[in-house]
Symmetry: C2
Subunit: 271 residues, 2 copies
């Protein structure tokens, strides 16, 4: 099953894909839908087929967006670190997110870098969850790019200020439910810049998988339906290249996860 928030001829709504067409769900967006309804009820609740439906940011109002850094064995090696015993976690806010085709408006002269990631959408209230409960509490998977402002990320010890620029993390285009996607078996995560492939890995090499991350986070804070957990990025980031490469005005970043779709975002310099 594919869930999304879509813009259509007469408005915006949560929606489910059925026989090739988006059908309205009874909620303003997918955040609102998941807050009240288990995702498996979507098919039964599907309403009219929508005209000219285009997926937008699927989850506009997550209470939490928690990200894991250093989670692919090869990306960990490119940063010169050893495999970790615990996931490295940092936070974003709902304001950090943006849509699958949105321009990324950022001031010029920043070291803007790409980080294609598989994102986990929480589908249940999780606190002190074990792996089994965490796995059962996954609503689905989507794509994200944890666009990072490296110079701000490394101004201090804490990455947050390089990771939480408003409308800098594209997410979408759709949420695929776990019955159709198993990242433990391997899901490809691909990033292209102006058509050139810069990242390409599979989630089989994740040190901490989706259920690990949800269970670990739930030891200290509650996760609720519609919250997002980003699983980390594979090797190939611009900051780790020699010479380093950063995004500039007009660069097009594509984040592809086969089975989910492609985010296509253009960097726009704006003061």
């Amino acid at each position: 099953m594919r869930l999304a928030t879509v813009d259509h001829e007469t408005g915006r709504t949560a929606a489910v894909l059925h026989e090739g067409a988006w059908h309205a769900l009874p909620a303003a967006d997918l955040s609102a839908f998941l807050a009240t309804t288990p995702p498996e009820r979507a098919t039964a609740l599907a309403g009219e087929a929508l005209r000219d439906a285009v997926p937008v940011l699927p989850l506009p109002a997550p209470g939490k967006v928690i990200c894991c850094g250093l989670n692919y064995a090869d990306h960990i090696r490119e940063t010169g670190r050893e495999l970790p015993a615990h996931p490295t976690l940092f936070a974003k806010y709902a304001d950090t997110l943006t849509g699958p085709e949105a321009d990324l408006l950022l001031p010029p002269d920043l070291q803007v870098d790409w980080e294609a990631e598989l994102a986990v959408v929480v589908g249940a209230t999780l606190r002190h969850a074990d792996r089994e409960a965490a796995l059962a509490g996954i609503a689905g998977y989507t794509a994200a790019n944890d666009i990072s402002v490296r110079d701000w990320q490394y101004r201090t010890l804490q990455w947050f200020q390089g990771k939480a620029w408003d409308a800098s993390t594209p997410v979408g285009p759709v949420v695929v439910t776990p019955d159709e996607m198993d990242p433990a078996a391997g899901v490809e995560v691909i990033c292209r810049v102006n058509g050139e492939e810069v990242q390409h890995d599979t989630t089989r090499t994740l040190v901490f998988d989706a259920a690990d991350l949800l269970a670990y986070i739930s030891a200290f804070t509650v996760l609720r339906p519609g919250d997002l957990v980003l699983t980390g990025t594979p090797g190939g980031i611009g900051a780790a290249r020699d010479p380093q490469r950063f995004l500039a005005d007009g660069d097009v970043v594509e984040t592809e996860i086969p089975g989910i779709g492609t985010l296509r975002n253009t960097v726009r310099s704006a003061r």
Copy 2:
């Protein structure tokens, strides 16, 4: 002016202190009040005097809770670091906060530490704010204790997982408006554990003051009315003592800022 969220004889409400009594404001809590109303209108909107009013967590629903680490010259020295060029920032969520008299329920055997702090309450929408706009956008000041789980904080490079335990950061008891309090001129920040003073400093020694922090943060993300910015803790934390000292079941942490009041929280071990 003193603003709060109070529990009273018949419910919970935003409130303003007037002639020694809490008077109801037309909002369910101070988060809801600030979301719609400039704080300076509180006196004009004050309703009936409330019976048995007791301040609770003043801001139950901030969209953002952003914290500055390493901001007092003496605390920076005790961690062995140099004075920073940029504020070290990390994030909490609304779930991290708890009330001024709440028990702090945490699993046993964690390295739980205190960090008394002055917190800034945002009163306007701030984005790309300069110092002047940031200063004008401060609704008031309150007290907070950035209770930190040191072993989790230092499991990885990112502090977030030691700083975002649910209901671990007491805030309150009241919000004092800037016409009655000027941290730049010096506000005392005091922490006591079981009656023993463990931190005592003045905000005159802050490297980045309230306006600096709001302006800096607003360069990358919007701040909205009711958001909280914690300004960092002075020297005297338990982890920097020799031997180190952490909080255990039954320990009482008092966080006092004269002019604002005292948070009094008891640590309770709970699985």
